[in-house]
Each structure stands twice: as C-alpha cells, then as structure tokens.
Amino acid sequence: MIAFVIRRLLLGLVTVWLISVLSFAIIQLPPGDFVSAYIAQQAASGSPVSAEAADAMRQEYGLGRPFYVQYGKWLGRILHGNLGESMEWRRPVSEVIGDRIWLTLLLSFAALVITWGLALPIGIYSAVRQYSWGDYLFTLVGFIGIAVPNFLLALIVMYFAFRLFGASVGGLFSSEMMLAPWGWPKFWDLMKHLPLPAIILALGGTAQLIRIMRANLLDELRRPYVVTARAKGLSETKVILKYPVRAALNPFASNIAYLFPYLVSGSIIISIVLGLPTVGPLLVKALVAQDMFLAGAIVLLLGVMTVIGTFISDLVLMWVEPRLRHQMD
C-alpha cells in the first residue's frame, strides 16, 4: 500500500510537471514577446522603459533563446517563489493572487461541505423512502437545481435579498472590512458573508450528488448482506447506516477530485455576478488583457490543486474501500 502511495505521488509530480509545461505554453501563446508588449504598455502609460532596462529584461527571461531555455528560466524562478510580473496590475503575480487563492479554496471547501452535508442525508432519505412524497419533492427540487444555471440562482437570490431584507449580497467582505488587515473582526465578517455564495455554488453539485447517492443506495438496499444484517436483529436505522450507506459512499470519495475544479471553474460566473474576490474573475480578466504571467500562474495553481485533490480522493477511496486497499498489496 505504501508502494502504491509513493507511486501515486510520483505520478502526481509528473502530472504537475506536464501542467507547468502547458502553463508556460499558454504564457508564450500571444504573438510577439511579452517584454515588447510590456514596453509598449509602459510607453503608452507615459513611463517609457529605457533600452538598457529592456535588454536586461530580455536577458532575464531568456528571450530569443529556445523554448526549453525560456521554460527552464521560468521554472527556476517559480521554484524560488517568483511567479513573474503582472502587466495589468504592475505588481508581482504572487501579490495579485495573494489572498484570492485562499479565499477560493475556502469558498470551494465550504461549498463542498454544504454539498455533502445536504446530499448525504437527502440521498439516504430519498432511497429509503423511495416514491414517498418527500422523495418526489426532493427529486423535483433536485432537477430544478441541476437545470437552473447557478449564476441565475445567484441573481435571483441577490434580488430577493435586496427587495426583502434590503441587504446587498455581494462580495465576501463588507465594504469597510475590504481593506482592513486580517484579524478576528475581518474573519468574522468573512464568516458572515461566506454561507450565501457557498450555498449557491453548492446547489448544482448537491442536486447531482443526491441523484447519485439515491441510485447507488437503491442498488445496495436490495443486496443480500442487508437481509443478513436484519437477521442479526439490528435496528433498521443501524442496518441501513452501517451497511448499504457505507457501500454507497464511494462516489462521495471519488467526487472530491472532480468537485474541486468544478467548483473553481463553476465559480467564475458566480464570482463575477456576486463580486467575490476569488481567482476565477482574475483569470478571466488576465486572459482578456493577455496578462500572460498572471494567467499562466493561475492555470498552474489550479492544475496543481486538482492533482492534489485527486491524490486526496484516491487516499480517501482506499480508506473507504477495503477491497481496493488489499488489491494494492
């Protein structure tokens, strides 16, 4: 099993490396080199770059040399924590991304917790009480949840929040806290703003997971081992929670991996609609403005996190599925 984990880690590293090549390729995509673009931009804004400074920059990025040399220099800088300069913001990329990556992670995690917290009990209920009124209700709500794009939901929620409560629903911070330094008041402010976007973000995935959980559990409920458990004299609740639910949990584990990228990419439009300071809108802006170091860095970060997510999900799957664990040995 340890051998498997190590092999899995090494494969993850290879994947991360491939992602880095891809990210750099994206940085290289726009016509012309980015130093020229940078100089032109600086000149346009009235602070021209001197010829020496331009040459120094070309030297530093290895422009005019082959792709792999440029890539090597870029990778070397990244390994030292230098993600490059954002041309749009005229600040280091790491500074621009800064808190946003953590806020994105926090939002995704909150959405994930809500997805599970809702999908698990509702899925169990819908399967155990199949074709009951409650099941039909959740099925209806679930299909609406799948069918309605969540940015539309965000708009509707914002509208009603504004009309009914006079509250402006947007952002992860209230305006006075936006620029405040981190501390308990700001954290508390974040906690107050987090639930709504997290719920909106979670709904689509929740509806899907309810359907999956219901279908899986319906399969498992008819298995002979459930009858065995009943024949032991266990209470029905214990029987269902210990045996078929456990067996139906696999998709929850494998969902960790694909939910994360889904939440990040799915959150772009919601983030724009709700004005959330996450990575999504930043990526869109960077791509529109051809701010390639910023775009490349975000793609790289998202890729790395997806790889980590997959790795974690594999570990969780091995934990919930003993057959898998023993096949590894």
Partner: protein
C-alpha cells in the same frame, strides 16, 4: 413426540407489486423439533426462501407477511408464544438469539466493507451485552468451533479474503453467535463445490448433535434432504403439498408432485442412455396461478375436473400430511 419448538400455521406472505399481488407463501404449515432437521424442498420460486424470511419477518418490500401464526417456545421456558403478533422491536430480540439464518450466497451475504470479526461481534454485543474484548474473544471461539483455521488471525480478515467454503463456515459462526436454538439454513451449500458441500453439511450435523439445534434446511437438492433431514416438507407454489418423516417420504411418496420429483433424480442404477424423467411443463408464472390445485396442469395423475376446481385441503395420512384429492378431502 415432544412438543415442537416452532410451529408454523397458515403462514401467508404476499408481494404487492405494481402489476399485481403475488402470493409467494400461501398458507404454509410445518413443525420443527429440537435436535431435528426439517428439510423444506421445492423448485426455484416455490416460496422456500420467502418462507424462511417470513418466519423472522425480514421480507423485503414490497413483500409483507399478511397472515398466519408462528408459535415459538422461547428459551426461558413457558408456553409457546405467537411471534407473528410481536412488534418489530420484540422481533429484533428473536432474530439472532432465538432464530438465526444462514444464507445461500456467502459472498453476497457478507458486507465487503467490514471484517468478518466486526460482522460477527455486532450481534454478540447487541444481544449478549458483552463488551468489545469479550465479544471479540467469543467471535474467535466461534470461528474455531466451525473449523476456521487460525481463527485469531482470520477474525480480522475481510470476506473477500476467504474461500467460498470458509466464508460459509464464517456465516454459520455468525448465525450461532448468540446461541440460537433454531437455525434456518437457506440453501447453505448451493454455491459450494461437492467436497465443501459435504464438509458444511457435516459441520451442521455435528453442531446439531452438540447443541440440540433445530434446523430448517431449505434446498432444492433431494440428495441433501436424504442425507440431512429427519422430516420433510415439499413446497409447490407457496404451499406445503406434502410433509412427513424423511424415510416414509422417500419410500412411499403420497403427492404426485413428490413422486415426480423423486423420479427425476438420476440414479447409478439407471440404464445407460435413457432419458431422465422430468416434470412436464414449468412452474406457472406467479400472476397466472392455476385454479384449483396449483399443480393440476402438470400433474401426471390428474383425477379430472375436480383438480381444476377446488383446492385440496390438508389430509392426514399414516405417513404425515398431504394436499391431494387422491387421498381424500374431495368436496
């Protein structure tokens, strides 16, 4: 003869499907005695397994026990009680400590997500009130008793790590976990090869001798019946058509169905290259239950119109009971 430990009377279980109601068990009667084995035999789909589950009231939806009495003499002594009238909570105290089940598919009947120890211990802790270490110790003893080698190590194995024969032994250990007095074995050897089958049957027999277990052995295999059972009940379409002591039944079968079943067993005495007699037709679809005696469309000894008109009542014969107009009971 002593009073039966379990007396089933007119047990009825129906499945309320969307296309109609299926009478899976339609008035089954039988008696089970301490230290003896009752063989329940019949073709697939005749309601054997549902009968077993109906006794414990663990029939899957949309099935439901709709009538009948199940008189059990409880462990503490006293007169027999009708557990068919028990509440669900009361029934949970019957399942395991009084009546236990051994299932057909040892692989599918275990959860693959827990160790066998975990699955054995759970009943022990629930019914016997032992703490975790004591329950585990008992689980290891049980595994040893049913002949699982290295039980202290095996107790932490998962079911998929065991062979089919071992799994069935573990299943029996699990059923015996709370010292039941009645063991219902639902085709316990069907999924096993012949050698393992013989070992499992031997095990059941020796456990019966040691503990005075009453066993209800459900099977479609007349060979298993001949080897194991003291009494036999032959089922056809949810009814016991004939019952009695095993030797009598094999020597002088009363019901045409029993006779046909016995004729269709291959014997070593048969002439080579002759065809094995079979029963004409096949089991009717449960929705098209024939009127009158359910066996009449396939019966080789049909008496005439009466068989298709009235249901034969149970008639006492010197050998046991039978439901066939050949033996009287005609209106």
């Amino acid at each position: 003869m002593a009073e039966p430990i379990l007396k089933v009377r007119n047990l009825q279980t129906r499945f309320f499907g969307t296309e109609g109601i299926v009478r899976a068990v339609d008035g089954v009667d039988f008696d089970v005695f301490e230290g003896r084995t009752l063989g329940v035999v019949g073709e697939s789909g005749c309601g054997k397994s549902v009968t077993a589950r109906s006794i414990l009231r663990i029939v899957d939806r949309p099935g439901r026990v709709v009538g009948g009495e199940v008189w059990l003499k409880r462990a503490g002594g006293g007169p027999a009680v009708d557990i068919a009238k028990f509440t669900e909570a009361q029934m949970r105290d019957i399942r395991g400590p009084e009546i236990a089940l051994v299932f057909q598919e040892p692989m599918a009947s275990f959860s693959q997500h827990y160790t066998i120890g975990n699955q054995i211990v759970e009943g022990i802790r629930l019914h016997m009130g032992l703490d975790a270490p004591a329950a585990r110790k008992r689980a290891i003893e049980l595994l040893d008793m049913v002949g699982v080698p290295q039980p202290a190590r095996r107790v932490d194995d998962y079911p998929f790590q065991l062979s089919g024969g071992l799994r069935q032994r573990v299943m029996i250990a699990m059923a015996l976990a709370c010292d039941p007095r009645i063991l219902i074995a639902d085709e316990p050897t069907t999924a096993l090869d012949v050698t393992t089958q013989a070992q499992i049957l031997d095990l059941l027999r020796s456990l019966q001798a040691e503990r005075g277990l009453a066993i209800i052995l459900i099977t479609h295999d007349m060979g298993v019946i001949a080897e194991m059972a003291h009494d036999v009940s032959v089922m056809y379409l949810g009814r016991a058509v004939e019952s009695g002591p095993v030797a009598e039944m094999f020597a002088r079968p009363q019901h045409p169905y029993t006779r046909a079943l016995l004729r269709s067993i291959p014997t070593v005495m048969a002439k080579p290259r002759t065809r094995l007699p079979t029963i004409a037709g096949s089991i009717p679809h449960p929705f098209n239950r024939p009127a009158g005696c359910a066996y009449n469309p396939r019966c080789a000894e049909i008496m005439g119109e009466i068989c298709g008109q009235a249901e034969p009542p149970q008639v006492d014969t010197p050998q046991g009971h039978v439901r066939c107009f050949l033996h009287g009971g005609a209106p």
